[in-house]
């Protein structure tokens, strides 16, 4: 473990260790979600939706939402998302009816983010907080709890059957579910439902936007499937510096290898790096990827030692700035898929 001086001096301390259950509830009352028994059923083919969605439709919740002062006005909803990808999803679903901000900006690392008091202030003015869950952004709920907020929190991954993976000897859920376009559709539907509850007047707009986006995601998914079908099975292997593409790999049958663990926190061992080099050499992988936020030096080392070429930047946990190649969720998926397919075909 490195001595992390930034975090020790930082405002909120320890990294996320526990995995939050999927939930949608008021921050002040963590046990409240247990009371929700009535649920909406929306079978999307990847796992049943939980009863948690239905919580918003309960009379007590509706009453609370109604006495929330900002909801009485016709002003756009204020939504705070933990990071850029979720923020873009909310923006796309809500259209002009919500002002969305992301606490972790483009290029930031959501895994190790340290919120500042100003971030707590941003949460305080929100009508809805959207987090990813699955252990990615536990600091957001701690922040809401510390600020003692009465703002509903939507865990966007609520319907996802998480992919398990091993980190530091423990089995934890992989948080990077949005890299699978079909799971991205589940995120959108969860967001739409929360928005509809918070702002019922614009429910049709939210539904229309969600339908349009889901259709675009399905087209993108089909297109990706066709492209990857053209790659021989023996070449469906990718090396990246940060293990964020597990869901992508699962969806399309591509093996994802990484020199570091799932989190950017860990210091690699010489043995792990040697195994990756062996893997590249023995399986003749010709291209490796550096992601937009991970430390590129280690992957540089691996490239030097194996002679593999640089596949460019993939966007895993963060969108690019507006003038970059991946300013929206859909653009990010498209960009990543084209880069990955080119690498697999070229090697």
């Amino acid at each position: 473990m490195r001595f992390d001086w930034v975090r020790i001096v930082g405002w909120i301390g320890a990294p996320q260790t526990t995995v939050p259950r999927p939930r949608l509830r008021f921050a002040r009352n963590p046990t409240w979600s247990g009371a929700s028994a009535v649920g909406l059923r929306a079978n999307d083919g990847h796992g049943l939706s939980r009863t948690v969605w239905g919580a918003l439709t309960q009379p007590t919740v509706l009453a609370l939402l109604l006495i929330h002062p900002t909801l009485a006005l016709a002003a756009p909803l204020k939504v705070v998302a933990s990071f850029t990808i979720l923020a873009d999803m909310v923006r796309q679903v809500a259209g002009p009816h919500a002002e969305v901000i992301a606490l972790v900006g483009p290029g930031g690392d959501t895994h190790t983010f340290d919120p500042s008091p100003a971030d707590a202030g941003k949460l305080g003015g929100a009508d809805l907080i959207v987090v990813n869950g699955l252990g990615l952004d536990g600091w957001m709920e701690r922040l809401a709890k510390a600020a003692d907020l009465k703002v509903p929190i939507l865990t966007a991954s609520v319907d996802v059957a998480p992919r398990q993976m091993t980190e530091a000897g423990q089995t934890v859920p992989d948080p990077h579910a949005w890299q699978d376009p079909r799971i991205g559709g589940m995120y959108l539907r969860a967001i739409a439902l929360a928005l509809k509850t918070a702002d019922p007047a614009h429910a049709t707009t939210f539904t229309d936007n969600t339908d349009r986006l889901t259709a675009a995601l399905e087209a993108l998914d089909q297109n990706a499937r066709q492209q990857i079908a053209g790659v021989p099975a023996s070449r469906r292997r990718i090396i990246t510096s940060h293990d964020a593409f597990g869901y992508f790999g699962r969806a399309y049958g591509v093996s994802m290898l990484a020199p570091e663990g799932i989190s950017t926190d860990q210091e690699p061992s010489a043995g792990a790096v040697a195994r990756i080099i062996d893997q590249i050499r023995s399986q003749a992988i010709g291209t490796v990827f550096i992601e937009n936020m991970a430390n590129p030096r280690l992957i540089e080392t691996i490239r030097t030692d194996t002679g593999a070429t640089d596949g460019g930047t993939l966007y895993s946990d963060s969108l690019s700035p507006p003038d970059g190649p991946a300013p929206t969720y859909l653009a990010m998926l498209r960009y990543n898929i084209s880069k990955l397919v080119a690498a697999m075909k070229g090697s």
């Binding site: 473990m1 490195r2 001595f3 992390d4 001086w5 930034v6 001096v9 930082g10 972790v104 900006g105 290029g107 930031g108 690392d109 959501t110 190790t112 983010f113 340290d114 500042s116 950017t264 926190d265 860990q266 210091e267 690699p268 061992s269 010489a270 043995g271 792990a272 790096v273 040697a274 080099i277 936020m293 991970a294 430390n295 590129p296 030096r297 280690l298 540089e300 080392t301 691996i302 030097t304 030692d305």
Partner: protein, 297 residues
């Protein structure tokens, strides 16, 4: 598994391990003597304070110039030297002792660094970006570390006599007209340089461990200053070698593995050291007939 596989094969098969080992060698040559001099000058904790003073400089340079090895090294160097010089100046101009003013300045520097970093709103885990790992040492980093060792050894050769006199009898050096503060300043500059080299290669605050642990361990084996230098450098290099092997065979993080090996060498020296180790002191060979108090001087 043969001995060859255990001890040499990893370095033959993997370029990154060869570069890591070379970086350890270069670091050991520079850090050994510097650490010994720090111990002799009773400034063992100074290295740790300095390493904290350097970090903000490197962080600020990263925010200005991005991931650039020279810029970050220069930033660290400037911050470290500034803190050292200010602490020296304050201790001469006010009643504060040097360690007190050093503590004051390094903490201020650290706080300032964190403030600047958080004001920029960068959420990137800075340590990971600032300092890779010994496993990701590339040719420029290797050249930097080697150059710093060469500069260190050359400078020490030039200022060796006055520096040693300043260590043991600063009053005498003043009486014969030597420039004690000048050599002290040059020495502090060397400390900062070697810490920067350690950060760039070992990739963590623990780099200071490769400076101090072998030096304190060497004190229990050797008596004169030059032998102390050699023993400290040797222990540092062996720690690097064994640490890398452990990191390879046992899947341990490489930086801590190296420093922990140096720590084991230190503990081993305390117990078995020829020059004042516990075993020699309390269970002396029969023909010596010395008391613990007489021994180990």
């Amino acid at each position: 598994m043969t001995l060859y596989h255990l001890l040499f094969e990893p370095f033959v098969a993997y370029g990154f391990l060869r570069r890591a080992l070379l970086a350890c060698l270069a670091l050991s040559l520079g850090c050994g003597p510097i650490g010994v001099l720090l111990v002799l000058r009773r400034m063992s904790l100074m290295g740790d304070a300095m390493s904290h003073a350097i970090l903000p400089g490197a962080a600020i340079a990263f925010l200005i110039a991005g991931l650039s090895l020279p810029a970050m090294s220069l930033g660290g160097l400037i911050a470290g030297l500034l803190v050292a010089m200010l602490a020296g100046a304050v201790s001469r101009a006010t009643p504060l002792k040097e360690d007190a003013s050093m503590a004051g300045f390094y903490l201020t520097s650290l706080a300032l660094g964190v403030l600047i970093v958080s004001a920029r709103g960068s959420n990137v885990d800075l340590l990971h970006v600032l300092f890779g790992s010994i496993l990701s040492v590339d040719t420029p980093a290797l050249l930097l570390v080697a150059a710093i060792s060469a500069i260190t050894l050359a400078t020490l050769a030039v200022i060796y006599r006055p520096l040693i006199v300043e260590c043991f009898d600063p009053g005498f050096l003043r009486a014969v007209g030597g420039h004690g503060p000048l050599f002290h300043g040059i020495f502090l500059g060397l400390v900062v340089l070697n810490l920067v080299a350690g950060f760039q290669s070992l990739g963590s605050l623990m780099a200071v461990g490769l400076m101090m642990l072998p030096a304190t361990a060497a004190r229990l084996w050797a008596r004169d200053v030059l032998s102390l230098f050699w023993v400290a450098s040797l222990i540092a290099f062996l720690s690097g070698y064994i640490g890398l092997l452990a990191s390879y065979h046992l899947n341990l993080a490489s930086g801590p593995a190296i420093i922990f090996t140096a720590g084991l060498a230190y503990v081993g020296s305390i117990v078995f050291g020829r020059n004042g180790g516990l075993v020699r002191t309390y269970f002396p060979p029969p023909h010596y007939h010395t008391t613990p108090a007489e021994h180990g001087r």
